[in-house]
């Protein structure tokens, strides 16, 4: 998996903002283009198990989830336009659970 230089820089910069969502599993930060950076508080395997156990209706598309190398300040990127409305997370009109 490789992520583009500009998109990666934008995601890294988003970590300097307030997180859009915070749960016991981690924090979701949104970049200028509303891509998501997820900084996990739990092991990556536990996070993947959490995503696998989500109902299909709210599970994010696998292809938009990008798993990063261990040496980054965040572990997952969500390469779709993510919106937060009333505490809920949406990709376009579809509610998803990301963290």
């Amino acid at each position: 998996m490789r992520i583009g230089t500009a998109a990666l820089a934008e995601l890294c910069a988003s970590l300097g903002r307030e997180p859009a969502i915070v749960t016991e599993r981690g924090e979701l930060f949104l970049s200028e283009r509303s891509f998501g950076a997820i900084r996990l508080k739990v092991p990556t395997a536990d996070y993947l198990r959490f995503v696998n156990e989500l109902p299909a209706e709210v599970r994010p598309k696998v292809m938009s989830l990008v798993l990063l190398d261990d040496d980054k300040d965040f572990q997952m990127a969500v390469m779709a336009s993510v919106k937060i409305r009333e505490g809920k997370t949406f990709i376009r009109d579809r509610e998803v659970v990301l963290v």
Partner: protein, 231 residues
């Protein structure tokens, strides 16, 4: 990443990958080449203008020579080349990420809103800006400053980014030119590309690609003016 729990969960997550690929293939086709098809992802990616280049699965079954005829570099190298050009502000679509899952390589990139020069030509369009001279300058810059030979540069691999529609503008269009599809491209080291840079030797076989200006010369107006069009 060597954690067995991780591998189990990762594999389980990517069981959904083939279903998503099948869904994408039913979506809007933006373009098709010898090596790949490009589909629109804008709706499912939340309205962000994004597309995915899905390489043909049968590529892996081709002999090395046949493979090189349709795809001279690996998808990962193509991504890197495009990423470098984008970072250097050369007009290419922004590559977002690339990977291979389940034997399916893909590149997700920004979608350019507009038309290929082939589409414009087929619809009788005329590009009033940029001019032919600017297209020629762009190709020369790609060769001489960016040190890349595209080797498959034809009107279908050049796009005009524009908000105008061919049918609603009296067929006169203006916008910004973008070069797409770097699957046959090669980095060069000399100041100017040589004919050798436009060929590829595999064993005893030599594949000769056309030079980057060859196919686009048909876009130069036959008489007068500097607009980009065929007739």
């Amino acid at each position: 990443m060597g954690n067995p729990d991780f591998k189990t969960e990762f594999d389980k997550l990517f069981q959904h990958f083939s279903e998503e690929i099948a869904e994408i293939r039913k979506g809007r086709l933006l373009g098709e080449g010898r090596a790949a098809k490009v589909f629109d992802l804008t709706d499912s990616w939340g309205g962000h203008p994004v597309c995915v280049k899905l390489y043909h699965p049968h590529l892996s079954e081709l002999s090395p020579i046949e493979y090189k005829k349709v795809q001279a570099v690996t998808p990962a190298d193509e991504f890197s080349m495009q990423d470098r050009l984008f970072t250097e502000k050369f007009p290419v679509s922004e590559p977002l990420y690339t990977d291979t899952e389940d034997g399916q390589p893909y590149i997700v990139m920004e979608k350019i809103h507009g038309y290929t020069l082939t589409e414009i030509n087929e619809n009788g369009g005329l590009i009033v800006s940029p001019t032919w001279a600017e297209l020629e300058k762009l190709i020369t810059e790609l060769n001489n400053q960016r040190r890349i030979v595209h080797r498959d540069l034809h009107p279908g691999n050049i796009m005009l980014q524009t908000e105008q529609r061919i049918s609603s503008t009296g067929r006169k269009l203006s916008g910004k030119l973008y070069i797409i599809d770097f699957g046959s491209s090669k980095s060069i080291f000399s100041d100017n590309p040589t004919l050798e840079d436009f060929s590829l030797t595999i064993g005893n076989s030599v594949i000769k690609y056309t030079t980057d200006h060859f196919h686009v010369r048909i876009l130069k107006p036959r008489t007068g003016g500097d607009n980009l069009f065929l007739r």
